[in-house]
Amino acid sequence: MDVLAAVDPQGRDEFYEPTSPWWLSGTPLEAEHHRLMRRRSVSIPWAASTAAALTAPERARLAGTWMRRSEAEYLAVSTFSVLALDLLAARAPADVLSLCLRAGIDEIRHAEMCVRMAEIYSGKQNLPPFGMSSLPDEPERPKLHQALANTMLVSCVSETYATTVLAATLELTTDPTAHAVLTSIYSDEVMHARLGWSYLRHAIETGDAGRKGETVIDAAAQMLPRALRGVANVVEAERPVGEVTPAVRTHGLMTPAEERVIFATCVREVLVPGFQALGVPVGSALDDYGDAWASAA
């Protein structure tokens, strides 16, 4: 079925088609939007989806998941926007600023892909649920420390976990449309995560101590448990109703239990070694998210 048959195909060619035209303004801005999105666009085989082979409950489960993903991606747009304010206040280097702002644009594209995927499984054209990001704000501490702490939360921890779980999910995804969408999102998330680690390195090498003698390393160490708890909240959150059947898994879905294992692995094999290599103390991270947490229901 050509879902765009009734839609003005502006911007569509053999390599790119508008992802969620119902979410656009209907003004000349659309053409510029497509130009912007086309630059980093991977061609998605939308018509190749095998959703029709699933049962109604399986499609409903996947539709629910992709709407939750669209909500998270929409929230991430404001997350990177707020983070950009902190980086500007800290006079971050130009490449850090530009890539942070680009990440926000990437998240808009991700949200578009997620509502399109939800439409494939549900038949309904919805907009992403509204949400605005909240990042910690402590005006009295040095701007560099605030920027670094929030970069750790958003990028070093959250986005690094996102790339780990996406990489694992891609291994079991066989539906061509879902695989292409997840691959596109994954390739962006790698850059979103790398941004944080590069900025962390830069800040450690160039940062000064704050008024109370607190160093950049101290600021990073203080944020780490909050950042890990933030991601754990997402992993522990309730899921849409519906079983994750073997067929559903091939469309890019893991069970909550598997996600816990992946997060614990990410903490143990990626995050803790990375922070330790940069001299950031990791406290009780390995105990807090070890085997006991991973196997909890």
Partner: protein, 144 residues
């Protein structure tokens, strides 16, 4: 058969995430944080090239007579005395100018410091635009 399936599940569970974690360690953390390079304090400095020494200038002239030499010597001495007096006067003037400039620069620097501190104190009172006291939530990628 059920035992084999159970074993496969256990193996899968213990290996789940290892391959992806290894990939992310290499592509994200190791590459992003440049872990192959040791941490250094401060920005790197480039070696400045050594300044070039000026080329020596040589001239050739015919040898002078004794009278010419005496006249020249007297002329030179007068010129030297005049130059020395002028140099002394210039040095005094320069010292006075420098003292005045230093005093002015100190005044300006003190004022700028005071302005900066006042602005920082004012900015410290204001929260960041769109701030909230709500507990932060990790973003993460929603899997299911």
């Amino acid at each position: 058969m059920a035992k084999h399936r159970e074993l496969a599940n256990i193996v899968f569970a213990t290996t789940l995430g290892h391959t992806s974690a290894s990939k992310i360690w290499r592509t994200v953390v190791f590459a992003g944080a440049m872990l192959v390079m040791p941490l250094a304090a401060g920005c790197g400095s480039r070696n400045k090239p050594a300044p070039l020494e000026p080329m020596p200038v040589t001239r050739t002239e015919p040898a002078p007579t004794e009278a010419e030499q005496d006249a020249k010597a007297a002329e030179s001495k007068a010129a030297e005395d005049k130059a020395a007096a002028e140099a002394e006067a210039m040095a005094e003037q320069e010292a006075a100018d420098k003292a005045a400039a230093d005093a002015a620069a100190k005044e300006i620097a003190a004022k700028e410091t005071a302005d900066r501190e006042a602005a920082a104190a004012e900015a410290a009172k204001k929260p960041r635009p769109r701030t909230t006291k709500a507990r932060p939530t990790g973003r993460g990628f929603i899997l299911s």
